[in-house]
């Protein structure tokens, strides 16, 4: 179980406003009084714009950074003070940073990890063959890492993070820079790892599709503050953005005046409506008053929902 209580982290930002020699130092709060608990087996999305404090949180959970306030406990361990012990039970993947030996083959890195984590021979062999199969590593097994494509390398990185069978997996933007197909593949794999081995996953990402496809729970952070912690459906509910409706109508359409952003194109009429503002009745009215041939409703993209939340957080 991951328990985070009143977690804070400050950064010193050097300002250059005072001229050449006396540089003013400013304290910037990167993470501010964050609280959450993640239970075993959960797959949680952790989202926020650039510089929101996501990576800083992950670095405190993994014991790289020392918190300036509050506490982190992972199965009762303090990740900074009991770093080595905590390391044994976690796998980490930084999308922008490789942990593989760049000029060597994948299996060289794995051999080293086997000894670093003191994995017994039998267990190592069994684990490796499972990972080779589900991550499909065989096709580039003997190539130096520098020659791998981004998608291949990321599969190699995932295997490196999972080799010692950790219970916790922290992913910092695992799909950054990938094309749609590879992203999809990585998502499938993450879902499988979560289901198969019950690995608890905390996923940081900019790609909200990752979260929508994978995570039952999502946490939103901005300016170091946790703005939201709950399900994806609830997030949509809480931040009502407009859905857009397109109706194909026979004959002259009869439309109520209160409809918003109405656009007509031949027999097609489209307008915006929000189901959280009692506009459902309005939609019913349109349908009953007209001869409707076809209707389609487009949910607001999740990006818009989250943008509302970020902006709300900024005003607060």
């Amino acid at each position: 179980m991951i328990e985070v209580e009143n977690l804070c982290k400050d950064y010193l930002v050097k300002g250059s406003k005072d001229g050449l020699f006396s540089r003013g130092k400013q304290k910037k709060r990167a993470v501010s009084n964050i609280n959450f608990t993640i239970h075993p087996g959960e797959l949680v999305g952790y989202i926020g714009p650039n510089g929101a404090g996501k990576s800083t949180t992950i670095k405190m959970l993994t014991g790289i950074l020392l918190p300036d306030g509050g506490s982190v406990r992972i199965d009762g361990l303090d990740p900074f003070r009991q770093r080595k012990q905590n390391c044994r039970n976690m796998g980490v993947l930084f999308g922008q940073r490789s942990q593989l030996w760049w000029h060597l083959r994948l299996d060289d890195t794995y051999r080293l990890l086997k000894h670093l984590y003191e994995i017994p021979d039998e267990q190592y062999k069994a684990r490796l063959s499972v990972l080779r199969e589900i991550l499909e590593l065989d096709e580039f097994w003997t190539q130096p890492v520098r020659q791998l494509s981004l998608g291949q390398r990321m599969r190699g990185e995932l295997a490196a993070a999972l080799l010692h069978s950790p219970s916790y997996l922290y992913l910092d933007e695992p799909t950054v820079g990938m094309d749609v197909l590879v992203k999809e593949r990585i998502r499938e794999l993450l879902g499988e790892i979560n289901r198969r081995d019950g690995v608890t996953i905390l996923l940081t990402t900019h790609d909200l599709e990752d979260v929508e496809r994978l995570c039952s729970r999502v946490m939103v952070i901005n300016h170091g503050n946790l703005l939201y912690d709950g399900t994806m459906a609830e997030l949509r509910h809480r931040c009502p953005a407009d859905s857009s409706v397109t109706i194909d109508i026979d004959g002259e359409p009869i439309l109520p005046d209160s409809l918003r952003s109405v656009k007509r194109e031949g027999s097609r009429v489209s307008f915006h409506f929000s189901r959280h503002m009692g506009e459902g009745e309005l939609l019913a009215k349109v349908i009953s008053q007209n001869h409707v041939r076809d209707i389609s409703i487009t949910e607001p993209p999740i990006e818009e929902v989250v943008r509302d939340l970020y902006e709300g957080g900024e005003n607060a």
Binding site: S55, M90, V92, Q96, Q99, W102, H115, E118
Partner: protein
Amino acid sequence: MKLYAYFLMAYFSLKESLTYWKDYISFIIFSVLGLVLQISAWYALYSSVDFAPVMGRSYETMITYYLIMQIVRNFTSADGIAGTLEQRMSTGEIATDMLRPAAPRGILIARAWGEKLYYFIPSILIFVGSVLVVGGIQLPASPGVFAAFCVSLCLGYLINLMFDLVMATFAFWFIEVNTLRWFVTFFVALSGTAVPLWLLPSWLQAICRALPFQAAAYVPMQIYLGSTNPAEILRAFGTQIFWIIGLFLVQEWLWRRGKRRIVVLGG
């Protein structure tokens, strides 16, 4: 076994360095050029006095000093460590070291050994080649002296290692430590690697003796040349161990304070 993991890291680091074998070309050119310049200068000097001893040292001793010193310098140097840590701090790779159930300093030392071996291979070749060219060097007076030289060499490495770990910790406070490292290189030149200390004026010799660097390189060299008697050898070991312990404590203290300040650059 955990220790084996560190050996593997050193080996991998050597293997990775070997993908850049072109670095060898400049290394070999500079090493050979340096030796040729030094040896020709001393040859000119000694030939002007009909190869009589200068300040009590024969021409052969002088040449032996320079050739053996190449080996001593390459073996005892640990200057990869501060540079490696600085680089890993400034690229943020330090983060991946901290994710392992291993000692970050152990990882640094192992990686530095890989790079050290990378340069050690050609320097052995250069040494053998030079010995053949100059027609032989002075050998240690006895196997006992040679053993003492080897021990002193290892202690010398540990001094430099501890010193470089001290330097490395400055990376926690200032991301840029290379300037500092450069400044220190001046003092390292006073370790006897550039010029035998017996040639220096006595006030400069006194400064050198107060610094740890001569204990790392000049002391083993003196033992090799047989300028130290058994009692002095023991005292020399004592001095070396004193520096190792002192610098170890300093780096330990700095490291404990510094790691709380880690910032990971590059996201």
